[in-house]
């Protein structure tokens, strides 16, 4: 007899999830952030070559499941200008592992008038409140720039480092070179992040990394940091080595946004992938005018893992991918 009909998460974890959702809604209610719902289906999809969208059909029309609710939420921001949050499912094809499930729950919120640092503070307040409510003793909340993190852990400047320099750094630190990793500096930086930088994070604390390289700006604004380097106003939050959230001081420039979509589509083509359908509605919303704002997406299943002191999503999800 197989027990695969059974949930893989315990009753206690189910209760902890319900408590977490209640606490999140209370937090945003107190902070005057409006809960919204936007569609999971979309006629367009992300151009990011590192994300794969699920596709489906309504009659003859191709549709995609969202990889995050970002585009629709920005259309709401452009139309109404309210601070908004959403708790919804997001979907990413080809992502399955101890800390990845192709279908997952995301909390995403936008704060008009906030810069990246103000939003990082609000996020820190939220996760510390949730940690406290589940009896988790948080030792530290550290904030460190991407450049400082690489400099301290690897001795390289990530804003100028070449693929060769990264390769030498990997050799010096006895880190293997993955098959297929060649001359792309950003891919090397991603690899060093997982192998060399993340392991230096406080194991039982929160770590913010901010000011990402320009080449990894996604939908973030660019600005000059205090050394005069052009960086992306993007941040990530980690608990130990678990990545929890990604946020931006949002790009407002329609022209720049279109160029980034088109560049990513060219990268997709170069990688032998199909270019994505660009979201013209988002571009029109930007054209109409997005308020100056920052936004962040927080993976709630991963956060629940932290709150429940679990090692894998299997312990957190009622029915993980292997049981659907």
């Amino acid at each position: 007899m197989s027990d695969s009909w059974q949930p893989s998460a315990s009753r206690e974890v189910m209760q902890l999830r319900a408590r977490m959702l209640t606490d999140i809604r209370a937090f945003f209610d107190q902070h005057g952030v409006l809960e919204v719902e936007t569609p999971l289906l979309s006629a367009s999809c992300t151009t990011d070559p590192n994300l794969s969208s699920f596709s489906t059909q309504y009659r003859q029309q191709n549709l995609y499941l969202n990889t995050s609710p970002e585009y629709c939420m920005k259309r709401l921001l452009a139309a109404h200008g309210d601070a908004i949050f959403q708790i919804c499912k997001s979907f990413r094809d080809d992502e399955l592992g101890p800390k990845h499930n192709p279908e997952f729950t995301m909390l995403e919120w936008y704060r008009p008038g906030f810069d990246m640092f103000e939003l990082m503070d609000e996020l820190a307040g939220l996760v510390q409140m949730l940690a406290g409510n589940s009896g988790l003793d948080i030792k530290t909340v550290q904030k460190i720039s991407y450049a400082d993190a690489y400099w301290q852990a690897a001795g390289i400047n990530p804003h100028v480092a070449s693929a060769d320099e990264c390769r030498r750094c990997a050799l010096e630190h006895d880190i293997e070179q993955p098959v297929g990793l060649e001359d792309d500096a950003d891919e090397w930086l991603d690899w060093l992040m997982t192998q060399l930088i993340m392991p230096t994070f406080q194991p039982d604390g929160f770590t913010f990394i901010y000011d990402y390289p320009q080449s990894q700006s996604a939908l973030a604004k660019l600005y000059k940091d205090r050394h005069g380097t052009t960086v992306a106003a993007r941040f990530e939050l980690f608990y130990g080595e678990t990545e929890l959230a990604n946020g931006f001081d949002e790009l407002l420039d329609t022209h720049e946004q279109r160029q980034r979509f088109e560049r990513e589509n060219r990268n997709r083509l170069a990688l032998g992938m199909r270019p994505s359908v660009i979201d013209e509605d988002l571009l029109q919303a930007l054209q109409h005018g997005l308020p100056v704002c920052s936004g962040v997406a927080l993976g709630l299943d991963r956060l629940l893992m932290v709150l429940a002191r679990a090692d894998t999503l299997e312990q957190i999800l009622a029915f993980p991918f292997a049981r659907i």
Partner: protein, 187 residues
């Protein structure tokens, strides 16, 4: 030549690494949220049995190993080769001592084994988990001693020596667990 993309990786998939056929035993996705994904895999080298780790950039393709498992019945050994037969097709395969390895200690004939073929040639033989073999030589059994501890060596009809309880006699047929080489019971 057949190949697999990293997104086809799963446990049990057979791939070529460093010229040897390997079987994936663990596949972990390493992926920053907005960055390049990597697959860290543990594989078992099917020739040496050794486990090794390797990381691939996601979307890389890796040569497939032409490896398959078939059920075969052990027929006989001529001292140099061990001869097996597929029960359905009567096709015979001769395996050398490298491929047979420790399995030779447990098979006398007619056992159904799993033969792993690589490019159609025998790579390894896995015996049944339990085999029944007669004792050809051991010290005389102690009558009535079926509960006491203590053991003694006994030689089986395949020439293999195992530890058995004191009450076992020559001619007894024993059930042996081939995974740890231990006596289980009288057959």
């Amino acid at each position: 030549m057949a190949s697999y993309n990293t997104n086809a990786f799963k446990n049990g998939l057979k791939i070529m690494l460093d010229g040897d056929p390997c079987s994936i035993t663990e596949n972990i996705l390493v992926k920053p949220g907005k960055g390049q994904a990597f697959n860290r895999v543990k594989v078992k080298n099917l020739k040496t049995g050794r486990t090794l780790e390797r990381t691939f950039k996601a979307t890389e393709s890796v040569e497939a190993a032409d490896v398959e498992d078939i059920d075969v019945e052990f027929l006989y050994t001529d001292g140099e080769h061990w001869h097996f037969m597929e029960p359905e097709t009567f096709e015979q395969h001769a395996a050398d001592s490298v491929a047979v390895g420790d399995t030779a200690k447990w098979i006398k004939g007619q056992e159904v084994c799993v033969m792993t073929l690589w490019d159609g040639a025998p790579l390894s033989i896995t015996p049944p988990n339990f085999v029944e073999l007669a004792v050809t030589r051991t010290d005389p059994g102690l009558k009535g001693d079926t509960a006491q501890g203590g053991s003694k060596p006994a030689t089986l009809e395949t020439g293999t020596e195992v530890k058995v309880p004191l009450f076992i006699d020559e001619g007894d047929v024993l059930k042996i667990d081939t995974r740890n080489g231990e006596y289980v019971s009288r057959a």
